[in-house]
Assembly symmetry: C2
């Protein structure tokens, strides 16, 4: 699969690619460490490292005393990469150095319904301002990774968003950003996939080759990693667990089907259930929050109420967790992951949801499959999407035999 | 992951491994073809081929006229591999040459409940007889692949069968066969995984990198292939879709949970529903078949009755298909395969089940995910398991940098 990400790529041999992946994953390493990772001689590793130092892809970090370290790292001075997380209700942009370390980031609330032109303009402005703040020219931007809350045809990079992103369908974010940053490789993916990469690079999934990242926010989606590699499926639609039916008589989902997990367990459904509890008198605190607000409640309000011990709110979150866990039990049976990480806005709503997800998975999955399974909330909070977009950008900036570094993950 | 399959392996370089994989997949190829597959020069491909010819791993087939072909193939004279398919109610053993072509096969009905010693003795006898019929010494057996109807710790090769294979739990089929054939690499896997490999090598999934094989027989299980590679999960328990709950108030499954897909939709559940229809008077033909038999019906009886247009039997198969399809809709949402292949005994019960599986997947999955999906019965019938076991044996006989050829599949 030849990526068509626009911009320039940096070609590496297979061995060089392994070195770059190892340094991204583990930070600074010695030539001896790298020889061990590549199962090659110290001399061969030395040659490979020297060639990469010459191309300024690697650097030897300056030690505290001023001398040269025996270690090497990805050359942070090679240029910059941007990581963009376009959410349904927010936008976040990060600038990182070429070693993947985030230097600056900026975000704001934003409705995805305002359309792609406004989003792209914001992203462009933020990247330009951050580069300027670093004293760096626009041409030093090597790559941009972008996550969007809907299906993306990968690696072509256009959005197939008739259902989820009105106004975005077929919009080529990549081509738009390529006009702004003609020297940069630009790569676009679904938000749950991007967050899975963030979790793998910086979060709980470091060193874990079999895991599922589940985003629970306005929608529900998953990033599936097996053998250390993100799986995208035949038409880049893998991970759409939010559209698995959990209630054949349930409400119509925005995808057009009935009773999808997303329609009954994501943020808007939680908010809707909270509203019903406020109006029916089942929850005094939700009624108070409703009166204070603009006749609307959010999933965060329900979480706040649950945090004070409000039983109606706790029950709403538990129900959501149970349904998510029922679907995840099937996912666990199929994929047999070592770890399930739950992120996205709703994952910041307290322990009730997580507890029910765990319980449902244990109750509904095949005993051998779940016995050593860990199910955790992500600790990356809003940084997860940006970290993942940076990882996506770096993986696709470098190429081995026309393939991205994603293909080189161990396993 | 260093396989511990016992026996001798044949070490290849990465490029040599690519050549072997290409020849397994495509049969005879020229040096020019191979240069194209490896994206290398014709001269380099020629060198690699010559080295493999010298080691007698490849051969130049003799042409009809007696001259040498310009093509090369896997050397069929290099030795033999056996492919074993241990089912719940049958055992099949095949002998293939080192190019993967099946030369002989033999099977018999057998209850898995008779235990592993009897099974291993049968397998050993069959392999010895087939080798003798070929006029080949036992030492010419290079590898044995074995599929068993239960979870297998892979690649260690022992059965974790407390639930499914009474008497087999912890039994080391590999060590037993290694005593009989000390020179052979022996590798054991779950039957659905093995059948998926058979489908990839010889069936509908040739050249398909994203597919799911579903075995519907006494149990229900899946083999998951993504990026051309079989996924086994963190503890080799991937593909256990038969233990996804479809009816929270359903019958107890042999795994200990309630309402598993397998407990309500596999062969025994179909037979059970047929028995009820026979006794209640809902089906005259089933009642007749019951009277002819020994007060028992099989899933095949229900299929026979459905084939004559018996509406109760058709309904039973449709219900089974609907429940399988409901679970597969979730699988399709998660994995976004290009193809779902349904095999196993129940897949030979007519079109009703397949039609309902297709309908349920279309009804319950995310529209974009299913739009180009094909759902088909396997055409390999009983050969699928043997073909897959042969493929498994060959993939693990050759090793590249301590890894099996499975890792080298393109994608």
């Amino acid at each position: 699969m030849m990526p068509t990400t626009g911009g320039r790529h940096i070609a590496l041999s297979r061995d060089e690619g392994q070195i770059v992946v190892a340094l991204y994953r583990e930070g600074r390493l010695s030539r001896t460490d790298l020889a061990r990772r590549l199962a090659c001689s110290r001399a061969k590793a030395g040659q490979l490292v020297n060639a990469l130092l010459e191309r300024e892809i690697l650097a030897e970090p300056v030690q505290a005393g001023g001398g040269r370290s025996r270690l090497v790292e990805m050359n942070p001075g090679r240029g910059y990469v941007a990581g963009v997380d376009i959410g349904t209700t927010s936008m976040d942009v990060a600038l990182a150095d070429a070693s993947g370390r985030i230097l600056r980031h900026q975000g704001r609330p934003a409705s995805v319904e305002s359309g792609p032109l406004e989003a792209v303009a914001y992203v462009e402005t933020q990247i330009r301002e951050m580069l300027a703040a670093q004293g760096a020219p626009a041409a030093s931007l090597l790559a941009v990774g972008v996550g969007v809350p809907g299906p993306v045809r990968f690696p072509e990079g256009y959005i197939i968003g008739r259902h989820f992103l009105p106004g975005w369908d077929g919009f080529t974010v990549r081509e738009q950003l390529a006009v702004a940053f003609p020297g940069a490789a630009i790569i676009l993916d679904n938000d749950a996939n991007v967050m899975a990469l963030g979790e793998q690079r910086n979060g709980l999934a470091q060193g874990v080759d079999e895991f599922i990242f589940v985003k629970v926010g306005t929608g529900i989606g998953a990033g599936v990693v097996s053998r250390g590699r993100l799986l995208r499926g035949a038409t880049s639609c893998a991970g759409h667990i939010g559209h698995t039916c959990v209630d054949f008589n349930g409400p119509i989902c925005r995808c057009g089907n009935r009773g999808c997990l997303e329609a009954v367990a994501a943020g808007p459904a939680i908010a809707q259930a909270g509203l019903a509890a406020a109006r029916s008198g089942a929850s005094e605190i939700l009624a108070r929050l409703l009166a204070q607000g603009e006749q609307a409640l959010t999933a965060e309000d329900v979480a706040t109420a649950a945090g004070t011990g409000d039983s109606a709110s706790m029950h709403i979150l538990q129900e959501s967790g149970r349904m998510i866990g029922d679907v995840l039990a099937g996912v666990v049976n199929l994929m047999n992951p070592e770890l399930v990480v739950i992120g996205g806005g709703v994952s910041r709503s307290g322990y009730q949801l997580l507890t029910e997800v765990r319980r449902a998975i244990l109750n509904r999955s095949y005993p051998y499959t779940a016995v050593d399974l860990r199910v955790e909330y992500s600790a990356l909070e809003r940084m997860g999407g940006m970290m993942g977009s940076v990882a996506l950008a770096l993986d696709w900036l470098f190429q081995v035999e026309g393939e991205s570094l994603e293909q080189l993950q161990p396993g």
